[in-house]
C-alpha cells in the first residue's frame, strides 16, 4: 500500500481532478525538460518554452481562507487590486472549508469550533460574532454567553453559515474576486535576478497555452491540506475487500451511512476522540432521537482519558469519559498569550516538545453532547472500548469486524455495520506537488513537525530570491513559531505578520492606529474599498 493510496483528496473543486499534467504530444507553452530540471530560471528560459509571462508584484497561491485573509489585510492597508493575483482552483475562499465542515457534520446551521472574536471577515475582531448575532437575531443570549464563558456557559461559537455569509460580503467589499485567476499552480521557481515564477495551469479552454507564468517579487502560499489520511488498518481493509461503503472517513461524503441507519437498525463503530467524533456522534444521536432509531454506537478510544491529566498542576488538561476537553484546538493562549510567546522563542527540539505537550486529540465541552452521551451510556446504546486495532476483517451478516487489542494483549472482536474513521490524520506535505517541488528545487526545508519551515514572519526559509521573498501560512506550516496557524485567527495573525513584513520592504504602508480605525469605520458601514 503506497502512501498516496491512503490519501483522500479533498474534492471541493472540480478543477482539482480535471487538471492532470498534460500528456501526449507537446502543446504550445508547456513546461520542458530544461525548466523542470533547473532550480533557478531566467526570463529567457521561460520565453523559449513559449510560456507567456504575466508581470504582477505579488501572487497568492491557494485561494482559500488563508489567501483571503492576506488579501483582506493588504487591501485594508491600502493595496490596489492590480498589485496582486490570487491563483486558485476555488470559486470562493470558503469552498474547501465548507466542504470539509459539511461532510464532517457541520452544515451551515450548526456551530463551528471557533471563538467569537475570530472573524474571517473582520481583521480587528470587533464587534465579535456574538454581538453581531445578538444584533441580527434581536436577542441578548449570545452577549450573556460571551460575558460569562467558560464558567457559567460553554464557549460561544458562531454558526458556519453566518461565517460564510459575512465572508461573502467582505469578498465583494474588497473586490477580491477581481483579483482571482482560475487554475492550478504546478510549481514556483526562483527567478534569476530576483523574484519568482509561478506556473499556472489555467482552466481548460481559457488560455491559448498550456501554462502561464506569473512573474512576481513576492509569493504567498496557502494551499491548505494536501488531503486527509486514512488509518492504515482501515485503508488496508478497504483496498483488500473493495468495501468503500461500510468503512468510511468522516472527511469524505458518507451520508449513505446515516440513510442506511434510518432504513434498518445497525451498529456503528466510531474511531477517534476529537471534535469530528463528537460531531458524528451528535448526528447519530440526533437522528436516533428524531426518527426513533435503534442505532447502537460503539466508540473505540486508543487513549481513554478518565479525568484531568498532565505532568503537574500548571499543565493539567481537563478530561473525562474518554475525552480530553479543551475549548478550541489549542489552549487559548496559543493565539496571543503565554504559549504564543513561548512558541515564538523556542527552537528545534524544545519547540517540538511544547507541541507535543499542548497537542493531542481533544474536543470541547458542550452540554448537549454530554447529555446525549450520558443518556446513551445509561440506556446502553453507547458503549466505549479501549485499545489499539489489530486488524479489520469482514464478518458475518454484512458486518465489519474490528479486532481490538487491549493493553493486556487480549483480542476483542467488535462487529459493526459501519466504521467511521474520525481520527483526521493529515497526509504528508509532499503529497502536494507544489510543496514537493519547493523541497526539491527551491531550497525549502521541513520544520520540526516535518512540514514547511518558516521564519517568525512566515517567510519560507531557504527560498529567498532577493529582493523578493516567499511566504507561507496554513496547516502545512504547523510546527513553526506559531501553533494556532490552522485556524481563522491564526490565518489572520499570519496575515498581520506578512503585511508588516511587506510594509518594511516598502510594498505597502504600515497600518497605524489612525488608518486602522478609519478603515474599521468603513468596514462597519459596508463601504467598498477603491479598486
Amino acid at each position: 500500500m503506497s502512501d498516496s493510496n491512503a490519501t483522500i483528496s479533498i474534492n471541493s473543486s472540480d478543477l482539482v481532478a480535471a487538471m492532470p499534467d498534460p500528456q501526449g504530444p507537446a502543446q504550445p507553452g508547456d513546461l520542458n525538460e530544461t525548466l523542470i530540471a533547473t532550480d533557478i530560471w531566467t526570463d529567457q528560459m521561460v520565453a523559449d518554452a513559449g510560456i507567456p509571462i504575466v508581470d504582477i508584484p505579488m501572487v497568492s497561491i491557494g485561494g482559500g481562507i488563508g489567501s483571503f485573509e492576506l488579501v483582506d489585510h493588504l487591501r485594508i492597508a491600502g493595496m490596489s487590486t492590480n498589485q496582486l493575483r490570487v491563483l486558485t482552483n476555488l470559486d470562493v475562499p470558503w469552498q474547501t472549508y465548507e466542504y470539509l465542515t459539511r461532510v464532517s457534520q457541520v452544515p451551515r446551521k450548526e456551530r463551528l469550533r471557533s471563538d467569537a472574536q475570530s472573524m474571517p471577515d473582520n481583521i480587528w475582531g470587533f464587534p465579535s460574532f456574538a454581538f453581531r448575532e445578538a444584533w441580527t437575531d434581536k436577542t441578548l443570549d449570545p452577549v450573556w454567553n460571551v460575558c460569562t464563558e467558560p464558567v457559567l456557559r460553554d464557549y460561544y461559537t458562531p454558526r458556519a453559515g453566518y461565517v460564510f455569509e459575512t465572508m461573502e460580503r467582505e469578498v465583494h467589499r474588497i473586490s477580491y474576486l477581481d483579483m482571482c485567476v482560475k487554475g492550478q499552480v504546478r510549481m514556483v521557481r526562483r527567478r534569476h535576478g530576483g523574484g519568482y515564477f509561478s506556473i499556472l495551469t489555467p482552466a481548460q479552454g481559457t488560455s491559448a497555452t498550456k501554462r502561464i507564468a506569473y512573474r512576481s517579487t513576492y509569493v504567498h502560499i496557502s494551499v491548505g491540506y494536501p488531503g486527509v489520511k486514512f488509518l492504515p488498518d482501515l485503508q488496508e481493509y478497504r483496498t483488500k475487500y473493495d468495501d468503500y461503503v461500510r468503512v468510511v472517513n468522516a472527511y469524505e461524503p458518507h451520508e449513505q451511512v446515516y440513510e442506511e441507519l434510518k432504513r434498518r437498525p445497525g451498529l456503528v463503530l466510531i474511531r477517534g476522540g476529537g471534535i469530528v467524533a463528537s460531531r458524528v456522534l451528535q448526528r447519530l444521536i440526533d437522528d436516533r432521537d428524531a426518527f426513533g432509531l435503534q442505532t447502537q454506537i460503539l466508540h473505540l478510544f486508543r487513549t481513554y482519558i478518565t479525568g484531568s491529566h498532565g505532568p503537574n498542576i500548571f499543565l493539567r488538561r481537563p478530561g473525562g469519559d474518554g475525552w480530553a476537553y479543551q475549548g478550541f484546538n489549542w489552549p487559548k493562549s496559543t493565539w496571543g498569550g503565554r504559549y504564543k510567546a513561548q512558541f515564538e522563542k523556542l527552537e528545534g527540539e524544545d519547540r517540538k516538545k511544547l507541541y507535543e505537550q499542548l497537542g493531542g486529540t481533544n474536543t470541547p465541552i458542550r452540554k448537549n453532547w454530554m447529555e446525549q452521551l450520558a443518556r446513551g451510556r445509561k440506556e446502553g446504546w453507547y458503549r466505549t472500548y479501549i485499545g489499539t486495532v489489530d486488524s479489520v476483517v469482514p464478518g458475518s451478516d454484512g458486518t465489519v469486524v474490528t479486532k481490538v487489542k487491549a493493553k493486556d494483549g487480549s483480542i476483542l472482536e467488535v462487529p459493526a455495520h459501519f466504521v467511521i474513521d474520525c481520527t483526521g490524520l493529515e497526509a504528508d506535505i509532499r503529497e502536494h506537488r507544489l510543496y514537493a517541488d519547493l523541497f526539491d528545487h527551491s531550497g525549502a526545508q521541513r520544520n520540526v513537525l516535518g512540514r514547511l519551515d518558516t521564519e517568525r514572519s512566515f517567510e519560507v526559509r531557504g527560498t529567498q530570491s532577493a529582493p523578493g521573498c516567499m511566504y507561507a501560512a496554513g496547516s502545512m506550516t504547523l510546527g513553526n513559531y506559531f501553533a494556532g496557524i490552522d485556524t481563522f485567527l491564526g490565518l489572520q495573525y499570519a496575515a498581520v505578520r506578512i503585511m508588516d513584513d511587506l510594509a518594511s520592504r516598502g510594498f505597502i504602508k504600515k497600518m497605524g492606529p489612525v488608518r486602522s480605525a478609519t478603515q474599521w469605520w468603513k468596514w462597519a458601514r459596508h463601504k467598498d474599498l477603491p479598486k
Partner: protein, 172 residues
C-alpha cells in the same frame, strides 16, 4: 486578548488613563455625595464649597486619586496576582468574566487605600470629613468606571490596535 504580564500592565495603564479618565471626568460633577456640614446629600455640582474650596475641584481630587490608585496598584499588585493565578489554568487564559469579577477585590482595595491619609486628598476639607470617602458615590463611580474600561478593553480597543490581541496586550 489573552494576556502576558507586560501586556496586562500596559493595557491596564492605557485603558485607565484614557477611557477611565474620560469617564471619571464626565461623571464626577454628577456624583451624589454627603457634603461637609449638616446639609445632607447633594450633587457635587450643586454644592458651593468644601472647606472653603470649590466642591467640584475637591471631588475631582478624590475621584482622580481613586483612578490613579486603581490603575497603579492594579497594574503592579493585582495584575501580577491574577497572572500567577492564571498559570493554574490549562489554557493560560483570563476570560472576560474573570476580568469583570476583579471589580470586587479591587473596589475594596482602592476603598481601603483611600483611607490612608497620604493617599486621600480630602484631608483638607475640615476635621469632620478627613479621609472621607462617600460610600454610595464611591461604589457608583468605581463600578461604572470599571465597566467602561472593561467594555473598551474587550471591544473597541482592537479597532485602533490591530496587533494588540496577538501580542498578549502589549502595545510597546
Amino acid at each position: 486578548m489573552i494576556p502576558v504580564l507586560l501586556g496586562r500592565i500596559q493595557t491596564r495603564l492605557l485603558a485607565s488613563f484614557t477611557v477611565g479618565l474620560i469617564w471619571t471626568i464626565i461623571i464626577t460633577p454628577f456624583l451624589y455625595i454627603n457634603q461637609p456640614g449638616n446639609q445632607g446629600y447633594a450633587f457635587v455640582l450643586t454644592i458651593d464649597t468644601m472647606g472653603g474650596e470649590n466642591a467640584i475641584l475637591q471631588t475631582y481630587k478624590l475621584t482622580l486619586a481613586a483612578l490613579a490608585i486603581t490603575a497603579l496598584v492594579g497594574a503592579f499588585v493585582w495584575e501580577p496576582i491574577y497572572h500567577f493565578l492564571m498559570q493554574f489554568r490549562w489554557e493560560k487564559d483570563w476570560p472576560a468574566f474573570f476580568q469583570l469579577l476583579e471589580v470586587v477585590p479591587e473596589g475594596l482595595s482602592t476603598f481601603l487605600l483611600l483611607h490612608v491619609s497620604g493617599l486621600n486628598p480630602f484631608g483638607d476639607i475640615g476635621l469632620d470629613k478627613e479621609q472621607y470617602v462617600p460610600v454610595l458615590a464611591y461604589i457608583f463611580l468605581f463600578f461604572t468606571t470599571w465597566i467602561a474600561v472593561w467594555l473598551f478593553v474587550n471591544g473597541p480597543m482592537k479597532i485602533f490596535f490591530v496587533r494588540w490581541r496577538f501580542r498578549g496586550g502589549r502595545l510597546i
